[in-house]
Structure formats: structure tokens, C-alpha cells
Amino acid sequence: MKLTFIHVVDWLLKIIWFFQMIFAAVLIFSAVAIMADVSWMDIEKIKGFNISFTEINLGDVQMHDNQTHAVTLTNGSGRVHISGMDSRIVGFKIIGAFMELLVWMYVIYLLRRIFAKLKVGDYFIRSNGTTLRKIAISIIGISLFLNTFHYFISTYIYKHFSIEGVILKRTIELDTRTFLFGIMLFVIAQIFIKGAEIKEEQDLTI
């Protein structure tokens, strides 16, 4: 069999699909383990969550000049671990991760469908265009809705989380790069569909 670029990418997609399946299985397994409150799993370790902060006041810190100075950490992000915190936070995190994974699995599935067509030589057909459009819509969806979902999760977390001297940042951040990529792909898909329609018309012109 002649190894072409299409075959290589097809194999890569198969590998990604395989790892996505494993990741989905791990997520489901973790969710079940948390619900069952098993003793062999240290839930505290996965209770850590990402935060963005505007300001963390570190208080008076002694410097090299042997004098104390007020030190503030500003505009950053990190991962916070708090022992004995509500397990529902872990549940929300797993739901968020699972939703994101499902959308990406759908994107990979659609890509594999396109590559299956390419392998048999069906390049310029309408269904490839519509599949490409579905991928574009999914990517736009990922950039818009998943960030909104994460915003609501962080709202819930921040409600139950307050440390003196720490000001948390809570804004909906639009993933501009992914969003623009999705829009670009959508435009390309529309052009592809129109092109396939013209080709179809040409094929049926006697």
C-alpha cells in the first residue's frame, strides 16, 4: 500500500481518537469513584482548581536590606488546593472536562469521516463541505460556550472561596484564536459547499 499524507493523517486521527476514548474512560471512572467515596483514591489531590487573581497581598516581607516592605502579587493565575473542600467542585470540574472532551471527540469523528472519503478519492463532494461546516460550528461552540460554562463553575467556586488579601478575577474570557479559527473554517466550508454545487451542476451539464 502506498503511504500517502492522507493515510498518515488518518492514522494520527485514529491515535488521537484512541487517547480520547481512554481519557473519557478515566473521567467516567473518576466520577464513579468520587460518587462511591472510595478510600484508595485521594480526592483531595484532584480538588485543586485553576484561579486567576487580580491581587494577592503577601503582607510585609523582610527584604535583603533587613527592612520590611509590603509585597503584592498582581494579575496572575495558579492552582489552588484546599483540604476538606466540597466534593461538588470536583463533580463540576469533571462535568466541564467531559463536555469539552465530547465536543472534541465529535470534531475528531467528523475529521475521520472526511478522511474516510478522501481515502477513496471523494475529494470535492458536497458532504465533505457540510462536515467541514459542522466542524467549524463545533469549534465556534467550544470557544464561546465552554468558556461561559467554565465562568459559571468559577462563579460557584469563588462564592465558596475567600482568602483575606486575595482578590480573584472572574471574567468571561473569549478564546479569540479558536473563535477566529472557527469563523475562518466556516467561511472556507461555505465556499467549499458552493464549489461542490457548481461542480455538481457542471457534471450534470450535457
Binding site: E200, E201, L204, T205, I206
Partner: protein, 74 residues
């Protein structure tokens, strides 16, 4: 589409097969078959000219317009 082709009728009248016509006007069987089945989206003037010349007929003998009956009962 309300346009129908009567190519098979004309061919029968001229006692000619589709293969024969295909050979004479140099248009593939596949394309003529699309035309005969009424699946064609468009027909070139050159094709129409060749068919009419070979079958000694008018474009109107091959193409016919039939108004679609409205089946909507609302």
C-alpha cells in the same frame, strides 16, 4: 423539474439506439443517459445542435415543459 426530455420517444421514432446516437454525435453514453433520464441540470447549445442535426428534429421535440401540479392541500 417541470422540464421533461422526450429523447427516448424521438429515438424510437427514428429507430435508433442510444449507443448509436452516442457514437454518431460523440457524446458519452453516460451523459446521454443522464439526459434521457431527465437528470440533467443544463444542456449546451452545441449538444442540442448535434442531437437535432442527427435526429433531424427541433429542440422542442426533445424538450417539453409540463406544469407541475400543486399537491399542497392546505
Amino acid at each position: 423539474m417541470p422540464l421533461i426530455t422526450n429523447l427516448d420517444v424521438i429515438l424510437a421514432k427514428r429507430k435508433m439506439t442510444l449507443t448509436e446516437l452516442s457514437d454518431r454525435i460523440n457524446i458519452t453514453m453516460a451523459n446521454l443517459s443522464i439526459l434521457k433520464k431527465g437528470k440533467a441540470r443544463a444542456i449546451r447549445f452545441t449538444t442540442l445542435d448535434a442531437i437535432c442535426k442527427e435526429l433531424n428534429c427541433q429542440p422542442g421535440d426533445i424538450l417539453e415543459y409540463k406544469k407541475e401540479e400543486n399537491t399542497n392541500t392546505d
